[in-house]
């Protein structure tokens, strides 16, 4: 652990990313304590106000406090990101492990299915399904989770193929361990490092997708604040050009969180896999 931490800290951008990320997570967790106002309280006399002492980041077109909405929006955006990444990793790990371990027809069927999902414009499918079932926070989590399993599945399949022929697996088989035990007790822990890196990147992608869906009005529905639907409200040209305080904070928040998670993921990749040659100045292999 100490060695891992030292290696992680050597990548300055990863460390900076981690600090920014922790800051975002804390401010989302403590939103009720930090927010100056109720995020959903509309005050029609205080509409479209620029930043002031009472409203540090101004108010929106319904007189709601932008800072409070950005803080609470962080809770929803991070929750959607974590849950949908959790769903896609669960499906991906299970199917990838099955494909890599069983091989043959099972492998072919699962991987062709992954190809179908992979070769499709993710967002178009997501808006279609979201419109059919009606946009809601839970539907957004499920849709993003179900549509993004092929990434982790391919990774896990490769890891399982690598370990399937090793001696310790042969030994476990000889001792009479059942396939499920070999898969999840013996092989899976060995795939932990790449899985962790892929998990961080999945969370970043899910946050980005949620914001994109909500920006199109097909993700988290108002009045609940999410960074994406706050940006959606700022699209009319008069708001865009004259009231930048309405859309810059949520936009910067999405940008900041995704960037810091990507840096952390990069740092984790280096710290967990010291054998990899350090070709990038930020300490990573550039190719994904």
């Amino acid at each position: 652990m100490g060695k891992f931490w030292r290696r992680f800290c050597r990548n300055k951008l990863a460390l900076a990313g981690l600090i920014v990320l922790v800051w975002f997570v804390l401010s989302a967790l403590f939103a009720p304590q930090l927010a100056p106002d109720d995020p959903n309280r509309a005050d029609l006399r205080q509409r479209n106000q620029p930043p002031s002492r009472e409203h540090p980041l101004g108010t929106d077109d319904m007189g709601r406090d932008i800072l409070s909405r950005t803080l609470y929006g962080g809770r929803i955006s991070l929750a959607v990101g974590l849950v949908s990444a959790g769903i896609s990793l669960t499906i991906g790990v299970f199917l990838g492990a099955l494909a890599g371990f069983c091989g043959g027809v099972v492998d072919t069927v699962i991987m062709r299915l992954a190809d179908v999902f992979y070769s499709f414009p993710f967002l178009i499918l997501a808006i279609t399904i979201s419109a059919i079932f009606g946009p809601s926070i839970y539907n957004t989590m499920i849709i993003l989770g179900i549509l993004s399993w092929p990434g982790p599945a391919r990774l896990l399949r490769a890891e399982f193929l690598k370990f399937k022929t090793t001696d310790f697996v042969a030994a476990a088989t000889a001792l009479g361990a059942r396939p499920a035990r070999i898969m999840f007790r013996h092989i899976l822990p060995n795939a932990f490092s790449p899985l962790l890196v892929s998990a961080t990147l999945e969370v970043a992608a899910a946050i980005l997708s949620e914001a994109g869906l909500s920006f199109l009005g097909l993700g988290v529905p108002p009045p609940a604040p999410s960074w994406g639907n706050m940006l959606n409200r700022a699209r009319p040209l008069h708001i865009l050009s004259r009231m930048p305080w309405m859309w810059i904070p949520p936009g910067l928040a999405v940008f900041g969180v995704v960037l810091s998670i990507n840096f952390v993921g990069d740092g984790l990749r280096d710290a967990l896999d010291p054998r990899q040659e350090q070709s990038s100045p930020l300490g990573s292999q550039a190719a994904d």
Binding site: L13, R112, D115, V116, Y118, S119, F120, P121, F122, L123, I124, L125, I127, T128, I129, S130, A131, I132, F133, G134, A204, L208, A211, G212, F215, L216, G217, L218, G228, L231, A234, R235, L237, L240, S241, P244, W247, G251, L252, V254, F255, V258, L259, N262, F263, D266, S279, S280, P281, L282, Q285, A286, A287, D288
Partner: protein
């Protein structure tokens, strides 16, 4: 080569498209509510009229029958008619919007190559220099940047504040189609759409060139006294560019995904904005048509990428 193309189309393309449309059609059919549900709320309408309307739309039949009928019509080039009041043929709507989307996507792919490849080369040639750090850092920023925020930011700066570029749209009715006009309308949307692509290609190009530069035949080229430029541009670059071609097949789906958002920000009259409009109106024939169209475009794109890879690299043989 021809055998490979035919096999790809019949063994991979058609099964994937069939599977995809089947699943999508199924999801649309099991969805709560049907295209006649809203009629129940209207006054002066009895159950009989609703039933007749449902029959007209062909939604009373069981799912497999509906799907097979839909597929049969699609094979004859008939994508059905839009559910909205215009009742226009879906194929016509799609053909009208497709050129704008393809133009925008091509521009952002070209932008990705035109900026990403030189940036990657610079980065690799000056490995660990300040420039290399800057390019790698910017590539991270480009990959993480949400297109909707960047799009709004660009509109704010160039259309609202500086007032030098149009705030979206694509040629007003009657406006002469000059080259300058194309540049003005295309610049912001294709930059927004291409940003991630530029960053991805720069990163990929850097590592690909570094890998090639470490190989023996380049040491030989250097040893026999070739200049650095000649080594990089004549010997290394050709090999390093090959993986970029395969990358193209992977970027096409993400370009189309991005187009949905970018077209909406910039009021671009393409398939992406049609998709969002159709989805909001629950206009199922249009949704199915657009999804099918994108699936076909993506399949063709990846096929072209693989074929050009084989053409560019004589070592690759698809049997």
């Amino acid at each position: 080569m021809w055998r490979y193309i035919v096999r790809r189309i019949f063994l991979q393309g058609i099964p994937v498209l069939l599977g995809f449309t089947f699943v999508l059609y199924f999801v649309i059919t099991i969805a709560p509510g049907s295209p006649v549900t809203h009629l129940r709320g209207l006054p002066n309408i009895d159950e009989e009229t609703i039933a007749r309307r449902a029959e007209q739309l062909g939604i009373t039949e069981p799912f497999p029958v509906q799907y097979v009928k839909w597929l049969g019509r699609v094979l004859r080039g008939d994508l059905g008619r839009s559910f909205d009041s215009s009742r226009r043929p879906v194929a016509e709507l799609i053909l009208e919007r497709m050129p704008a989307t393809i133009l925008l996507s091509l521009c952002s792919i070209l932008l990705g190559w035109g900026v990403g490849i030189p940036a990657g080369i610079l980065s690799a040639r000056r490995q660990y220099s300040f420039l290399d750090y800057m390019i790698t850092f910017l590539a991270f920023v480009g990959i993480s940047a949400p297109s909707f925020f960047i799009g709004l930011l660009l509109l704010y700066v160039f259309a609202a504040k500086l007032n030098v570029l149009p705030a979206g749209g694509f040629f007003l009715a009657g406006e002469p189609r000059t080259f300058l006009g194309y540049v003005q309308y295309l610049l912001l949307p294709s930059l927004t759409l291409g940003l991630g692509n530029i960053a991805g290609i720069a990163r990929y190009m850097r590592s690909s060139l570094l890998e090639v530069l470490g190989q023996d035949f380049l040491r030989t080229a250097r040893a026999k006294g070739l200049s650095d430029n000649l080594v990089v541009y004549k010997h290394a670059l050709r090999n390093a560019l090959l993986p970029i071609l395969t990358l193209m097949g992977f970027t096409i789906p993400s370009i189309f995904s991005g187009a949905v958002i970018v077209e909406n920000i910039f009021a671009w009259p393409g398939l992406g904005s049609l998709a969002v409009q159709a989805v909001n109106e629950r206009n199922y024939p249009v949704i199915m048509g657009i999804n099918l169209m994108f699936a076909v475009l993506i399949f063709l794109g990846s096929l072209i990428a693989d074929v050009s890879y084989a053409l560019a690299d004589p070592r690759i043989r698809y049997e």
